[in-house]
Symmetry: C2
Subunit: 467 residues, 2 copies
């Protein structure tokens, strides 16, 4: 048994894999003395003499008691997740065995890691900024391809690069202002005002794009709320069933998705669509105008990110026009879904049956023609839904998904506007500089450069243990 040495309390240990029975379970140990500590439990080989990024098979022993046959992964500082020496021990996946191994490591002087403490150390050691660290938690919690993609993009530094870009613009601006300050006695306007405006406008554009991406980012993180509305017998429930039935096989492949959730969610191209209070909508019998304009239906539509208005393609044109105008006035994303094309011949440019052609032709940019009953046009409808969600996506995939980042960015945006007003009002350079400092402060809050320790502890406490 190893005695406790000073400094070993800096060695943290936790189970890194989910609890429960599996083939293997991985225990993570981090700290300047982590390799020495585990070496004391691994008599078969001197781990302290081994290279970084190597694997070692052997028996973990506490005194004479064999704890498990394990594979030890060595990561030497700074080439590790936390930036410290890290040892990962791959044990047999028995909760009991894992408890014993963790117990032995604790008895050597390590302590249990707090939630998120490994990632917190990675942040403190400069392995990632706060935005990246938070995205690690998002990545772990991701349930769709889009959410995973966005989080991974941020983990890999995509969002941080956008922020750095913003920061650099602000610093350039600041440099020009300060140059002007230096020459202020000479009453020359060294910094070209046009250039200042240009820099501030560019920064505002970046911030604006990031802020705008939050709507989509949020949608990707939490799913898209979709309200399917329409007159009775327009085919709402048939559409719903067609969508759900086709989707069920895909959704059920995802581990942990419960049947209850499947009933009301659609995963299309990795984006989660949540159908809000569908039962209510299904039973609703009021007329269309009421349905999209007042009362419960309005409420449902307010909650929705997207409205699907489903109608019979045989319906009078004027009604659809009214609905469309109502939806546009609300500023909602929507699709007009003309159902029951199976009941009429679909018109083509080259003619055909003129009477029905005018009925079943697409007349609005938001219109999709389907047959819910026969499953026709469903793929197109799905694609249109996805397009609707993705239309705000930045080309490089950078997206704000975190409400904390959004709030900080809003303050950055506000500061930028204050600076612009200052420029307009010919504010002296030192006051403009102060505003820029505010702006940089809010940016620093996102990346964690100026975040207080308490705040950091709070942010990391939302992580899972072992990360």
């Amino acid at each position: 048994m190893l005695g406790k040495l000073t400094g070993w309390e800096d060695t943290i240990v936790a189970l890194a894999t989910p609890p429960g029975v599996g083939a293997i379970g991985v225990i993570r140990v981090s700290g300047p003395l982590s390799i020495r500590l585990v070496a004391g439990l691994f008599p078969g080989k001197d781990l302290e003499q081994q290279d970084s990024h190597t694997l070692h098979v052997g028996v973990l022993k506490e005194g004479e008691e064999a704890l498990d046959e394990v594979v030890v992964s060595l990561f030497r500082a700074p080439r590790s997740y936390t930036g410290e020496h890290v040892v990962e021990i791959s044990c047999h996946g028995s909760a009991f065995v894992l408890e014993r191994v963790i117990g032995a490591i604790l008895r050597c002087g390590a302590r249990l890691a707090k939630a998120g403490e490994f990632t917190q150390r990675a942040f403190l050691n400069g392995k990632m900024d706060l935005a990246q660290a938070e995205a690690v938690a998002d990545l772990i919690a991701s349930q769709t391809a889009a959410a995973a993609r966005t989080a991974l993009h941020t983990v890999r530094g995509g969002f941080s690069r956008a922020l750095r870009d913003l920061r650099e613009r602000l610093i350039s601006f600041s440099a020009l202002i300060e140059l002007e300050l230096d020459f202020s006695q000479e009453d020359v306007e060294f910094a070209d005002r046009t250039q200042l405006y240009h820099l501030i406008d560019e920064a505002s554009l970046t911030t604006g794009a990031l802020l705008q991406s939050f709507r989509l980012g949020n949608v990707i993180r939490n799913g898209v709320a979709v309200a399917i509305v329409g007159k009775p017998n327009a085919g709402k429930s048939t559409l719903l069933n067609t969508l759900l039935n086709e989707d069920r096989a895909i959704v059920s492949e995802i581990a942990g998705t419960t049947r209850d959730t499947i009933e009301e969610t659609l995963n299309i191209d990795g984006i989660l669509f949540r159908l809000i209070d569908t039962a209510g909508i299904r039973q609703h019998t009021a007329d269309v105008i009421e349905q999209i304009g007042v009362g419960r239906s309005l409420e449902k539509m307010e909650q929705a990110d997207v409205v699907l208005y489903i109608f019979d393609v045989g319906e009078a044109m004027s009604e659809i026009v009214a609905v469309r105008e109502g939806l546009m006035a609300k500023g909602k994303a929507f699709l007009l879904v003309g159902n029951k094309v199976d009941a009429v011949a679909v018109g083509t440019v080259h003619g055909g049956d003129d009477r029905v052609a005018t009925v079943a032709q697409v007349r609005f940019p938001e219109e999709v023609l389907i047959s819910a009953k026969e499953g026709k046009g469903i793929d197109v409808l799905k694609q249109r839904l996805v397009d609707l969600v993705l239309k705000g996506e930045a080309a490089d995939g950078t997206m704000v998904t975190n409400a904390r980042h959004y709030e900080a960015l809003r303050k950055v945006d506000e500061s930028l506007r204050t600076i612009r007003t200052g420029l307009d009002e010919l504010l002296p350079g030192d006051l403009l500089s102060l505003d820029i400092r505010h702006c940089l402060h809010y940016l620093g809050e996102i990346t964690g450069e100026i975040t207080s320790e308490d705040r950091l502890d709070y942010i990391f406490s939302k992580f899972c243990i072992g990360k």
Copy 2:
């Protein structure tokens, strides 16, 4: 995207860690082409050029789509768990991310591993025998220190060594017999009969010890059933509560142990004691003789591995003697627990109050004196319980815990007796040889040397996926 190549269907993939959300999840890939397959998804570095037992950090990509930032562990054949090339991919612990990575690997031509298939390959490639492979499953399922210890001992080959020993004795015997056959025309008795008897007796001893260890092995694997019996007011429920309360803290440390289970089990020194139908025993009001002799109590005692008979130390000596004789006649392991020592002075060798000294002194080897109320003597009682269980333990920790092994060993034992009878009856050598072949056959069933493919498939199907 990689095209499918011939032979890639031999590459198997599975999640090796428990499902659910954790910091990391590990995906295991095995097969002759596993490294090449994963290398195709890992563009940052040529994995095929890397050494065995090395770790590689990078981004896993399917085409242009980044799947996750991962750590890849390389194990080259035969220095791996399965004996084939093995790649373990440590991903972010999102069920969704893990599904995507597994999906990408499947699309490259691998297939999902069946339950236990990694271990089955380890067995087929001679990395372990069947007894060891089965102990891997036991180790993963172990819930107590003793169960983990026994399983680990078997995984590490302890049991297999005992079987090898047995096998060598049988082969020596066989060699002597065959030598005799060769010289049979000359009517010399080349093989010394004494030596033959000696070899068979030694083999029987080994088998006997292994068979006997099954009682304990089984107990360690499944827990020890304990019946606490005694007259009303002897202190059964107080003892039960004292035991359970003290134990609760220890048991609750073990992940996955539910509260319901805790109510009725005790973990003492890593051995699980199950209190059978305690409520029934508590409410039982019949007199002692009936309680240990007939009806429901008898049934309970039949189910129990150990009987704790609790009595008031002030009780008449003759009753305890009767109970003790009854228990000995049943051949049950038991302890006589004299309760309420707090109510009397405990006698010592050096005297004291003579009247109570005779009452509260230990009079039987199976006797323990306690005060359930004051918690006195409880530690001694626990130690005695553990001793009772461990008294059959083989010195080197080899134990039969698997019912399949037990059955095969019983057939080995039977064959040995047949051989001995053959020796007694001066059976010709060729017939003795046949009996030995039977015996070796049953031994081979344990280690898997002669087990049929169907049987193997069945055994491994009881494993978890990913092992």
